[in-house]
């Protein structure tokens, strides 16, 4: 079974803090993705990565950056957290381009 894990289920941070969200997949998948999910807006793609050290912007990259130093790990970084970044963050991975995406359990981030 594909397993995508995220470092925290719930996280509370203060405005201006630097926040790291970690995602690990154990199936040697090429592609990894970061989404945020908000009521009424659905899932929106923040960044994705086809390979180690490679990244591409999604639909809403502003205020976020990513890092992929190892194939199995994809990190989402909020350089200076703001209250409008309070959301559910979902990581996903897929084996090859165009394949099914498998999602992690999500991290619910609250920025106070």
């Amino acid at each position: 079974d594909v397993k995508v894990t995220q470092s925290s289920r719930y996280l509370v941070k203060r405005t201006g803090e630097k926040v790291f969200l970690e995602c690990v997949q154990d199936m040697d998948h090429e592609n990894m993705f970061w989404y945020r999910q908000d009521p009424g807006l659905g899932l929106r793609l923040i960044y994705f990565s086809y390979d180690v050290k490679m990244k591409e912007k999604g639909d809403i990259p502003e205020g976020y950056s990513v890092s992929r130093e190892k194939k199995e790990r994809f990190s989402l970084i909020l350089e200076s957290a703001s209250t409008n970044q309070t959301s559910m963050y979902l990581c996903a991975s897929s084996p090859q381009r165009g394949d099914t995406q498998y999602f992690g359990p999500g991290t619910r981030l609250t920025v106070l």
């Binding site: 009424g40 793609l45 897929s94 381009r97 498998y102 999602f103 992690g104 999500g106």
Partner: protein, 111 residues
């Protein structure tokens, strides 16, 4: 206008009923269509994956795509309380990694 429109519900039906969930989309270049199920406080999991038009059946679930009307449907037969979840439709074009999601429909099956 959103590229994929989905009625958010909530939708409540009695156990055993047939459930119909629907999405419409605007981009005729979309070729791959998916339905994800998301339980409360969990990540989405893939239910059905279809290419282009037609029907696909898997147990109690049937996915239907009508490209002429840009309409995507998921039917659940003999619905069970364990089917209570949010259902998300998603689509993408050929050669594009980006999935475009509907906002999700929250479904409750009443025992």
């Amino acid at each position: 206008q959103k590229e994929v429109e989905q009625d958010p519900g909530p939708l409540s039906v009695p156990e055993g009923a047939i459930v119909s969930l629907n999405c419409t989309y605007s981009n005729s270049a979309f070729q791959y269509f998916m339905w994800y199920r998301q339980y409360s406080r969990k990540g989405p999991e893939l239910l059905m994956y279809t290419y282009s038009s037609g029907n696909k059946e898997d147990g109690r679930f049937t996915a239907q795509v009508d490209k002429s009307s840009k309409y995507i449907s998921l039917f659940i037969r003999d619905s069970q309380p364990s089917d209570s979840a949010t259902y998300l439709c998603a689509t993408r074009t050929i050669g594009n990694e980006k999935l475009t999601f509907g906002t999700g429909t929250r479904l409750t099956i009443i025992p």
